[in-house]
């Protein structure tokens, strides 16, 4: 059992969200592996620090000021409803009057004409109605055309994305799963995220100042991480990062320890920053303008296999779901159906979990993680 997989389970293990088999595996591993045990204990510590955060009381005037606001809302709501009511009352009275008058006049009118004529009038009336509806159809055609145009637009986008993905997966063997399959199965409309990813690929290839940079094939997923030593303050660094649209959040995390040991370095202060890949050279330029960069190093890691494994796993689960659904249709026993439904629910959960993983990986692919060490001099 490898440590990466265990560390993915630690959080669920703590909350008792894993099945018995996994629970035993994790338990066993934590006895054997010092590193994972330390990670586990640190996570427990972080959770208990969260739990210790106190509940704070509502600000003093909270309820009073809320009450005033609620009264304001009620007043405006009430005003509106009065307006609506008046209007409704007015129209209904008017409608009743109109009906009353017309029916009375019709009544008077029909008294004087023979029955055959009334019958032909009815026919005329129905003809008129038919004509009216035809007119309506004509009128409605225009918006329909418009929506067709819209559809065309999205269709064009669709084919663009498909083309891109096809090209992206050209080299793959036929049986392997591609993100195209997954995407097609999930939704035919490309999201903005997928589209921007295409732009990103185009932009990144020229601008990356990566040392051991190799030609990136279209179907490869590369994660970049790096290291910088510079004599600016953390405040200045924050400003640079914010100006070029990077961020400081340690949200997409993976281990930077290996890089630090590789560089044999223990700095006084460190920050982890996330820089959009296409802005990397801009980041470097600005940093060099402000301070003296002692070390700067970016390395890449091919996570294509990892990425594709997850996609494959999603595909497998989706197949499993289809089979389960078929099985469910063949059963009549409500107990059995319930059981299968439970299983489908579990499979769905797994699929969602993996999709979230893919999303996280996509984020990691788009940003370059740099561990910046700040020294005073």
């Amino acid at each position: 059992m490898n440590c990466t997989k265990i560390q993915e389970w630690i959080s669920l293990y703590i909350d008792e969200q894993v099945d018995e088999v996994t629970k035993e595996e994790v338990k066993k591993h934590l006895i054997e592996c010092e590193k994972c045990k330390a990670e586990y204990e640190m996570m427990l510590e972080a959770i208990s620090l969260c739990k210790e955060l106190p509940m704070i009381d509502l600000p003093e005037e909270f309820e009073e000021s809320l009450h005033e606001k609620l009264v304001d809302v009620q007043k405006s709501k009430y005003k509106k409803s009065i307006k609506n009511m008046n209007w409704k009352a007015f129209t209904s009275i008017a409608a009743m009057l109109v009906i009353g008058i017309t029916s009375m006049s019709l009544f008077n009118f029909t008294k004087d004409i023979p029955k055959e004529e009334i019958a032909s009038m009815n026919i005329d009336y129905s003809k008129q109605k038919q004509l009216d509806t035809e007119k309506n159809v004509e009128n409605e055609e225009i918006p329909e055309k418009k929506s067709e145009e819209n559809k065309k637009d999205t269709k064009d986008l669709n084919t663009d994305v498909k083309k891109y993905l096809l090209q992206k997966n050209n080299d793959n063997p036929k049986d392997s799963v591609t993100s195209k399959d997954i995407l097609e199965e999930e939704s035919t409309n490309p999201t903005q995220e997928q589209l921007s990813k295409i732009d990103f690929y185009a932009a990144s290839e020229e601008t990356l100042p990566v040392k051991n940079y190799r030609m990136q094939q279209a179907n490869q997923h590369i994660r970049y991480k790096g290291f910088m030593t510079i004599n600016i303050s953390s405040h200045e660094l924050i400003q640079i990062v914010q100006n070029i649209g990077g961020n400081l959040e340690t949200s997409k995390d993976y281990n930077m320890e290996d890089i630090k040991t590789k560089m044999n370095f223990s700095p006084t202060e460190e920050m982890v920053v996330y820089i959009p890949k296409e802005k990397l050279s801009e980041f470097e330029k600005k940093a060099r303008e402000l301070g003296e960069v002692k070390k700067y190093f970016i390395e890449n890691e091919d996570i294509t296999r990892n990425y594709e494994n997850i996609l494959q796993e999603i595909k497998n689960l989706q197949n499993q779901k289809i089979k389960l659904k078929e099985e469910m249709n063949n059963h009549n026993d409500s107990e059995q159906i319930k059981k299968i439904q439970e299983e489908i629910k579990k499979v769905n959960e797994n699929i969602d979990e993996l999709k979230e993983e893919v999303k996280n990986l996509n984020e990691e692919i788009q940003f370059c993680t740099i561990c910046v060490s700040l020294y005073d001099e």
Binding site: L12, F62, H235, D352
Partner: protein, 196 residues
């Protein structure tokens, strides 16, 4: 049963019933907002906005979930909106460190001597924990607050955040990893305070 009749009366616009209805939940709602936004002023505004939204739209409350879950959902979404707007304006957050001649100071200290925050957050570790939470991404922050600070179940969190249980599982794991890393690196605060 009583809650049902309060909901019914609130749907007819009865303010007092609505106030009674939220009475048991408003403190927790406010605390979610406080941890999400990091300061009392913003938390108060966001909570009140959320309650007003709930009052206006209580007709739309379907009894698929409990009222409290529905209310916390509105509160969380309102906070997420506030955070997104803040991000756009790109102002420095309260807790960002600033440099002075004497060294690094916390931005919030200057005008904070007697504010309730100062009194409430007696404990330095707690204060720095809030800073660590502030530095998480929106999604990670919300799951940490709901799960580890307020103790909601995975199912409840899925309902509040309108996503599947699988997503919640994965997100909680990621968020905890991130939080752990922040605490460990102590990148946002001095290492003397948090010893792990």
């Amino acid at each position: 049963m009583q809650e049902k009749s309060l909901i019914h009366k609130s749907q007819q616009g009865h303010i007092e019933s609505f106030e009674n209805l939220i009475k048991n939940y408003q403190k927790l709602a406010f605390n979610i907002a406080y941890r999400m936004l990091g300061n009392i002023e913003d938390a108060k505004d966001a909570t009140q906005d959320a309650f007003l939204k709930a009052y206006k739209n209580i007709d739309q409350f379907k009894e698929e979930s409990t009222f409290s879950t529905w209310l916390y959902k509105i509160v969380t979404n309102t906070c997420l909106d506030v955070l997104r707007k803040k991000k756009k304006i790109k102002i420095y957050s309260y807790d960002q460190n600033i440099e002075t001649e004497k060294g690094k100071v916390l931005r919030e200290i200057a005008d904070e001597e007697n504010t309730p925050e100062k009194i409430v957050e007696k404990n330095e570790i707690q204060k720095h924990m809030q800073q660590a939470i502030d530095s998480l991404s929106e999604h990670h922050r919300s799951v940490i607050i709901l799960r580890d600070i307020q103790g909601f179940s995975y199912e409840e969190i899925a309902k509040i955040l309108n996503c599947s249980k699988g997503t919640v599982k994965s997100r909680i794991n990621r968020a905890r990893q991130a939080l752990k890393k922040i605490i460990k690196s102590g990148e946002l605060f001095d290492k003397d305070y948090v010893k792990i």
